[in-house]
């Protein structure tokens, strides 16, 4: 009898799932709007473990109590969160049958960046034949990593295969309570990447190329989690130099990095989302929370970022230096042109003894854009002998753009040494004429000068991306000097 009633109960509740809101489970996308049902839908779609759904719901409930932050030096129209679509199934079918159908302007940019043909196809959403490199490259890549015990897969896959690791680390660096966009991401994130480097392993490959091919369709709420166990090393590259035109306007990603004792993580990113037209219409809003923690002694994490895209960027890759003798680095080049706005920088939180951090930020503003550096260096009471060096440079092209620097220093220990240097410069007419006189045209000259200015940061990128990033800087500033 009891069994039977249980069965009925199960059927009823099951059918609730099946025919209630969840009749839509066959749909490829959730209806617009954000409610607990939307979140259950996403979680069910992805067949997630229970703890994940609970995490999402907690985050959602918290998000509802929050207000969108307004302190950043950026302006954009209010985002109507209830009109957005929070889940759509990844496109299985290719958008185009051949490269001939792709916007020639996009192809021209690929050409300028020197992106290999097969990757061009993948990025533009062109159907590729079965022998295409990415498949074979992808599998050899995976094999090499597996041999070393490195886990590198999508976040969804990790939730299925390694739920215990996700449960342990997810939200440990960026809790859902952290901020408005972090709460939103935690509630609705679509997918992302997970990397796990076991103890003592030096990851044999840059976790980059493979990712790039697959990066185009990861959706608007990405989540990345990187865990480096004791004594391990990994260089991780995310993002894409190719201009990604995306139907989603709002992007709110989370990246969390955990470096245990003696581990080192190098995280590099190139962000080139569609910035909108010259008036800034239709561009992507990129509101990202990135944070790493040097959990153990002698751990080291470095962020290197090249930001050229998006209409609005709001991004502060930060580091918590908890382990004694741990090191944090932040290298950034942010370019804004036309009406782009970027408010970016970092936070270095020194908790452990003898912790050191370096911040090199290079802002480049052109057109009528606004580029702000915002940074916090904090040394806690126990952070004996903490050291920080910050250098924030701004380069202006033309006289209608803006560069702003907001450095905050919060020193809680007398033995801390915190240095901040800042410069603002313009590309001078003398410099341009000098280049012209040597036969280098205006755009070449700007590219050369800007790349020279950003060299300190570009040199930190993995080799293959450094070359593309250099070209990207020049392309981003095309037409910025008349």
């Amino acid at each position: 009898m009891e069994n039977e009633s249980n069965k009925i109960l199960e059927e009823v509740t099951g059918s609730e799932y099946k025919y209630g809101f969840y009749t839509d489970i066959e749909m490829d996308q959730a209806p617009p709007g954000l409610t607990e049902d939307t979140i259950r839908f996403i979680s069910a779609k992805k067949n997630e473990p229970e703890f994940m759904l609970e995490f999402r719901l907690k985050a959602f409930r918290h998000w509802q109590t929050l207000k969108e932050p307004e302190w950043a030096h950026v302006k954009y129209p209010r985002i109507k969160y209830q009109e957005l679509i929070y889940y759509s199934a990844p496109l299985k079918r290719a958008k185009h049958d051949s490269l001939d159908e792709v916007d020639p302007e996009l192809l021209e940019t690929f050409e300028k960046l020197g992106i290999p043909l097969n990757e061009q196809k993948a990025l533009a959403g062109v159907a590729v034949d079965a022998v295409m490199d990415s498949v074979s490259v992808g599998s050899t890549f995976k094999k090499t990593l597996e041999e070393q015990g490195v886990i590198f897969c999508s976040f969804s896959e990790a939730l299925q295969k390694h739920p215990e690791l996700i449960k342990k680390y997810m939200g440990s660096v960026v809790p859902y309570r952290d901020n408005f966009f972090a709460a939103l991401n935690s509630a609705v994130f679509s997918d992302g990447s997970f990397a796990y480097i076991p103890k003592g392993v030096r990851c044999p490959l840059e976790l980059s190329t493979y990712f790039r091919i697959n990066a185009a369709n990861t959706g608007q709420f990405e989540r990345t989690l990187i865990v480096a166990e004791e004594g391990s090393y990994v260089s991780y590259m995310e993002g894409c130099t190719a201009p990604v035109r995306d139907e989603h306007q709002l992007h709110a990603a989370i990246v969390e990095i955990i470096a245990h004792k003696d581990a080192e993580v190098k995280y590099s990113t190139v962000q080139n989302w569609w910035p909108g037209d010259k008036e800034g219409k239709g561009g992507v809003y990129n509101f990202v929370t990135k944070r790493g923690i040097c959990e153990g002694e002698n751990a080291k994490i470095s962020w290197t970022q090249v930001e050229t895209g998006s209409a609005v960027t709001w991004k502060y890759p930060s580091l918590v230096l908890k382990g004694d003798n741990s090191t944090g680095e932040f290298y950034s080049v942010a370019v804004t042109n036309n009406k782009q706005q970027a408010d970016t920088g970092t936070k270095m939180i020194h908790l452990g003894k003898n912790t050191r951090s370096t911040i090199i930020s290079k802002g480049i503003s052109a057109g009528r854009s606004n580029n702000s550096y915002r940074g916090l260096v904090k040394t806690s009471r126990n952070a004996e002998n903490a050291r920080n060096f910050s250098q924030c440079d701004s380069l202006l092209l033309g006289d209608q753009c803006g560069a702003h620097t907001f450095p905050y220093l919060d020193v809680g220990n007398k033995s801390s040494i915190v240095e901040h240097e800042a410069t603002t410069s313009k590309i001078s007419e003398d410099q341009l004429f000098y280049c012209l006189q040597r036969g280098i045209d205006m755009e070449g000259a700007i590219g050369l000068i800007v790349n020279g200015y950003a060299k300190e940061v570009l040199s930190k990128l993995p080799m293959e991306f450094a070359v593309e990033a250099q070209k990207l800087l020049s392309i981003s500033l095309e037409g910025s000097v008349g």
Binding site: D430, Q431, R438, G439, L448, G452, K455
Partner: protein
């Protein structure tokens, strides 16, 4: 090669060059001398294509082409080189990278393939030796933290790399000690060929001890008021500019 006819140039309405004519042929070295403010540097800038000046009158032809039809970078690619009086710094851009970009832009313009890395390095080593440049210099950022002498030597090195048809050296000798002066002069002499020409703009006769000009012109108040052979330079040194002024008044 270069023919300037009745050139008048002003800046913000203020006349600087007032009806200047000059002909420079292949194989020749010309020296233009004159006191401060006589228009020497303006003349060099106008030939190179700087746009801060207004050309009010006159014409300049170069290799049969109207120079004013060519933007500054095309003039450079056509073989006009300006040795700057005050070379600017370009932080983060190595001289090697700068020169490779410049040379390949020029080659592209001329319809030639770009130099490969190896070809470029070979050329660079060869030219460094030719003009006596320390090998370390080319790894440094363009003019950044250079001494006055290093900057000028760098100009001569770039000239050797680009092999101009017409080189204009704007007070390349100013502020140089005697050793640097010799390096500069040596470079110019070694690069001298039958099919190229050099215009040396200078304040002092001193440089002309090392670079022997075929013609000397005295520029005063925007006009060439006297031309002659190298003896004119000695005479100027001895008697001063007032002498020419009085003589031509």
């Amino acid at each position: 090669m270069l023919s300037i006819k009745n050139l008048s140039v002003s800046i913000h309405g203020k006349p600087i060059i007032k009806g200047l004519s000059l002909d420079v042929n292949a194989g020749e070295i010309h020296a233009i001398m004159g006191p401060n403010g006589s228009g020497k540097s303006t003349l060099a800038s106008v030939i190179a294509g700087r746009e801060t000046f207004d050309v009010d009158e006159g014409e300049i032809t170069y290799m049969g082409k109207n120079l004013f039809d060519l933007p500054a970078e095309s003039r450079a690619r056509e073989g006009i080189f300006l040795g700057f009086q005050y070379p600017v710094e370009i932080p983060g851009v190595s001289i090697a990278n700068f020169m490779r970009t410049a040379i390949n832009e020029k080659r592209k313009y001329l319809g030639l393939d770009p130099l490969t890395g190896a070809e470029f390095l070979k050329l660079m080593e060869e030219r460094k030796k030719m003009v006596d440049i320390q090998s370390k210099l080319t790894n440094r950022s363009v003019n950044e933290g250079f001494s006055g002498g290093e900057k000028k030597k760098n100009e001569i090195f770039q000239m050797a790399m680009l092999e101009p048809r017409l080189a204009i050296l704007d007070e390349t000798d100013s502020g140089l000690d005697i050793d640097a002066l010799k390096v500069v002069a040596n470079g110019v002499n070694k690069l001298r060929r039958k099919d190229n020409a050099t215009v040396v703009i200078t304040h002092y006769q001193r440089l002309l001890d090392y670079i022997v000009p075929d013609f000397v012109h005295v520029l005063y108040d925007g006009r060439i008021i006297k031309s002659g052979d190298k003896s004119l330079a000695f005479e100027l040194e001895e008697k001063g500019y007032d002498w020419v002024k009085k003589e031509t008044a």
